[in-house]
Symmetry: C2
């Protein structure tokens, strides 16, 4: 495989001149440039970015570490990040943690070894230790979707508390008084924040802790199904459900259906995250929709600014609003 030296020799110039041509840097006479370009063509020379990166300490590569690209919410974020990165001349390494701390740690290790210029991370646990390692290596880090309390870190997320509040407020407004929440894992900020929104809405309606009915599970369909089953089995049955994400919503719906009940007649259902409208004939769920594309975009722009050293010194915390989309699953007025 040809190197700058081979090209230089063939063109009768020095290696550095070849480098200048490749990178459009410094002054080069048209004639020399022509000779070099011709040599490059003849040799089929492809510059070795590894060597360049080693020298410049910049790889033009970002890492996107998320839980599971298969969730359409993350799919959109990934697409958005790749778009923004690509526009700026960066590539993106994709990593799925499946909410496993062990996987996350493995990935982060390798990514730092590969000297990615920045990491976009959806942290599995919202603890200081998660990010300590990355920060200690002075690699720019932007936390997406979740936040880590008590640590100075750039983060881009949605207003989970507000979205949760709005959905539950909607249910209350329709007359529901027994509203159960099917949450994600405790300790994951997006789950916790949505619970907080749920609580605030109940409190505001004069309902106290006795009226709270919260199940904690995972952000997947099976967990949603199981939590819904428990809800149906337990004590006095709620009349409405608030599910903490799209998969939990689907699982809950199926459990209700499998129990021979109907949404929304027998059980109103609202949830976080819209499903991709393009793939669904007849959208049914009332949701708090997150601007996934915008999130990815802003996170990427922020980290690219950090990489370029152009971002303000203080840590940025960007919180985007959710949009409440009312459809049939929330039903009409209750009673």
């Amino acid at each position: 495989m040809a190197t700058v030296r081979d090209v230089a020799k063939l063109a009768g110039v020095s290696p550095i001149t070849v480098s200048r041509v490749i990178n459009n840097a410094g002054y080069i006479s048209q004639e020399t440039r022509g000779r070099v370009e011709e040599a490059i063509r003849q040799l089929g020379y492809v510059p070795n970015t590894l060597a360049r990166s080693l020298r410049l300490r910049q790889t033009n590569t970002l890492a996107l570490v998320l839980t599971d690209i298969t969730n359409p919410f993350w799919t959109t974020v990934a697409r958005s990040v790749e778009d923004a990165a690509s526009d700026a001349g960066f590539n993106v390494i994709l990593c799925n943690t499946d909410e496993s701390e062990i996987e996350q740690e493995k990935y982060l290790n390798v990514l730092l070894q590969k000297r990615v210029d920045g990491v976009l991370l959806v942290p599995v646990r919202c603890t200081r230790e998660t990010v300590q390692f990355i920060q200690s290596q002075n690699v720019p880090l932007v936390v997406i979707d979740r936040h880590i309390p008590g640590v100075e870190i750039d983060s881009v997320r949605c207003d989970s508390e507000g979205g949760g509040y709005a959905l539950v407020h909607l249910m209350l407004g329709q007359g529901h008084r027994r509203i159960a929440m099917l949450s994600g894992p405790q300790g994951v900020s997006s789950a916790d924040d949505r619970v907080a929104g749920y609580r605030r809405a109940l409190a505001e309606a004069g309902l106290d802790h006795q009226n709270e009915l919260i199940f904690y599970g995972e952000f997947n369909q099976q967990s949603g199904y199981e939590m819904m089953q428990k809800t149906l089995d337990a004590g006095p049955r709620p009349t409405a459900i608030f599910a903490a994400n799209n998969f939990i919503t689907m699982g809950a719906f199926k459990a209700v259906r499998d129990a021979g009940l109907k949404v929304p007649e027998d059980m109103a259902l609202v949830g976080f995250d819209d499903l991709p409208v393009d793939l669904i004939i007849d959208p049914f769920f009332t949701v708090a929709s997150q601007p996934a594309y915008e999130m990815g975009k802003q996170a990427t722009e922020l980290i690219l600014a950090r990489v370029a050293g152009q971002a303000p010194a203080e840590c940025q915390e960007i919180i985007l609003p959710t949009e409440i989309i009312v459809r049939r699953s929330s039903g009409e007025k209750y009673r």
Copy 2:
């Protein structure tokens, strides 16, 4: 940032010894190893893989170049590729071409410069030139989903011809005689193969070219919508539609609905690619489902074998079967 040399100095050994500890290579006394590991810990040393890759000519990085991660079919493939790569200690750079040759070329260029160990490519155009560049650099390449006629290249794809045949055969069996096909772009092998399957089924039923009604468009929803509109406007209306992928199917469905007609009563509809069952309450479309996860897995395993120099010399061509899933959109017997 610490280097092997720093670690070596602190541990009172030579750099190469540190290297041996890091890579578990060669013989090291327990005691020396202990000292080195302690030094690594103290310094927070993170090995620089760039330098290592430069030396070893291996990056442990693959590239996945596809059209659009947002299509659930590709989402699944991406997940699968990342899973298999990760298991083998490789990372994956994700690239979306949006079916643009220019984008594709840009990506391939940068990827080769970054010295990825292999490229998994969904080629925008099925021409020899597309892959020539990569092959000329001796970088392992596996073509996914499509194939490039007349070139020796590893490829993993589905039996598009067979799937198309089966779907159209199904329609014919239900009595349909006027069946239109809404295809993807001519020159993209998956589209062409599906058209071939359509033709074979018609021919076998004794219908000649006069009975063919084929529209060529793009693999997206808007194109599906537009092709369907044309179909509805043009001459004698068909009674059944074969759409070449999931997005075209959705677009066609919406056009039919917007025209005040019903699927399947007024128009039967079958298509390629199942939609993610997990996200859909009540699957409706009769489809030829492709084993996306399996495709990604096999493609990745093949390319990893090539990288390791363990694959058979001759080029591999893996063709996976589709599964016909009959649902309501294909209707009952016609007439």
